[in-house]
């Protein structure tokens, strides 16, 4: 009897230790970036583009990268939504056990697991084939491509949780399949769809590997879709690769800015989904 209780205690202790490690890691990620970044965080970081010699320690900020990342992520999320939501609608047309729908879902799951770097390499090959230069446009295409499977599956999962009874009620009133999908399923799934879109936005903002080849890098804020564009993660990466400590410290400060944007997206998605839940049938 004693042995069994000791075993219970032992494993419970291990669980506490594990959870402590996980939460401790999260806190230290935040803490170290904030502690190291705060000293060089100032208002010109977010209001100015890099001046001449910025990467040698000159003045300026990383407004180019902040705006660039927002343009890129917003464009990509809009494009990805335009493709993903109709795909999810299409999948709802099939019975939940249908072979076609489930194999499409598996394909999308696999595509969602492919590293974003590969999407970058793929779009880069297309760009070489068309002989065009890296630009905001190709950056948006790349990020949108890797968001499509993620977003489609997330939206599809939310739509699948809509109770069957609700759809039956709609059919009983004479609605067609698609009318039910548009007016009942989509409306009911709206909070979840919003969350999925904002999570996708967060992924788009944070991803560096995919736009490394395709979006280029510039110190100016892009004025057209054919301009190259800087992104925040790459700005951090490049500032960190300089040999000057004061520029590296700016990378830590840029890290704080990126964390803040991701946090706002995260909190915003929770708030919005809560707000829209009141329009759902409970």
């Amino acid at each position: 009897m004693d042995r069994r209780i000791a075993e219970e205690r032992f494993f419970k202790g291990l669980m506490y230790v594990s959870l402590f490690i996980v939460l401790g890691c999260l806190i230290s990620v935040f803490a170290i970036v904030i502690i190291k970044g705060i000293p060089s965080l100032n208002i010109s970081m977010v209001t100015e583009t890099p001046h001449g010699g910025y990467y040698l320690g000159g003045g300026g900020g990383i407004l180019n990268a902040i705006v660039g990342s927002l343009y890129l992520a917003a464009g990509a999320v809009i494009l990805a939504t335009i493709i993903s939501i109709p795909t999810a609608w299409y999948l709802q047309n099939f019975p939940r056990s249908s072979r076609f729908a489930s194999s499409t879902r598996i394909l999308l799951d696999i595509a969602a697991g492919i590293p974003s770097l590969i999407y970058g390499a793929f779009v880069f090959l297309i760009m070489v084939f068309l002989q065009t230069e890296a630009s905001l446009f190709w950056g948006i295409i790349t990020v949108a491509l890797f968001l499509v499977p993620l977003l489609t599956r997330a939206v599809d999962e939310v739509m699948q949780t809509v109770p069957k009874k609700l759809m039956d009620a709609s059919y009983a009133l004479g609605a067609t399949k698609l009318e039910t999908v548009f007016h009942v399923v989509t409306k009911q799934a709206l909070p979840g769809i919003l969350t999925a879109v904002l999570v996708a936005f967060g992924r788009g903002i944070g991803d560096a590997a995919s736009v490394l080849f395709t979006a280029g890098y510039t110190d100016a804020i892009p004025v057209s879709i054919t301009d190259p564009v800087a992104t925040l993660p790459l700005a951090i990466f490049f500032q960190l690769s300089t040999p000057f400590p004061e520029v590296q410290e700016r990378a830590y400060a840029s890290g704080i800015i990126l964390l803040v944007i991701v946090l706002i997206t995260c909190v915003g998605s929770r708030y919005l989904s809560k707000k829209f839940t009141k329009y759902c049938v409970k």
Partner: protein
Amino acid sequence: MTRYSRDRVISSVLFVPAVFSSILLFVMVIVLFWKSEAILSTKPLVDLLLSSSWRPVAGNFGYLPFIMGTIWVTALAMILAIPISLLSAIYLSEYAPPRIRDTIQPVIDLLSGIPSVIFGLFGILLIIPLIKNSVAPLLGINSSGYCILAGGLVLAIMVFPILISLSFEVFQTVPREMREAALGLGATNWEAVKHVVLKKTYPGVIAVIILGFSRAFGETMAVLMVVGNVARVPSSVFDPAYPLPALIANNYGEMMSIPLYDSALMFAALLLLAIVVIFNLMAQYVLMILRKVE
């Protein structure tokens, strides 16, 4: 137009984006394969994969250092992450009161939303100095800190959220009555976990681990920032390594200036894609069997 024919028309319009998103995967494989043909026609596949000489200027493309680098970093990360994540997930699923569970879950979601470059920053600021100044001297090794251990630690932290949230979901599929039956027979909570929950869900747990592996293989930026990037087959965790994603990300700039280099990098991308797809298929297969059993 009647409502039913409108239904049919819209349905066929929706077919277009659905096809687009499903064939994307195939298109990528075909394009990468087509680009890799040049390098594949120079030497037999086995020679490419097992040669450790990487000198693009001389036309030597041996992938062994990169493959081994990827395996070392990924395996180390998974060895560190699997027990911690599974135990955390068991706690959240089987032990935690609802209030604690509801507070911790958003935190784990948040962890999964943190951009990889931030984890790289974390590695450079905390883990590298730690290895350089404390761990390596303690073991009598001289290390710059940029090594497999650093990459593995950073990567382990990055796969925590996916391992925890997926295995939590798997544990939740066990009906409550089954646990109650075990507890009713006098089992301790841990015995119920061991003999009922884990026994019932072990295929699912395996699928989760495979998915975690495939996620870890592809992680680029964070690992690239801390792992040292030296193209040599590593022999200890304090050696630097050069994983496949880092190879692609670091060298795309000059790949057009050296003959065959572009093809060699695209073959690296294809290799990575193939590994990830195979691992994903394995996980899906395990999950499919699991569903059939149910």
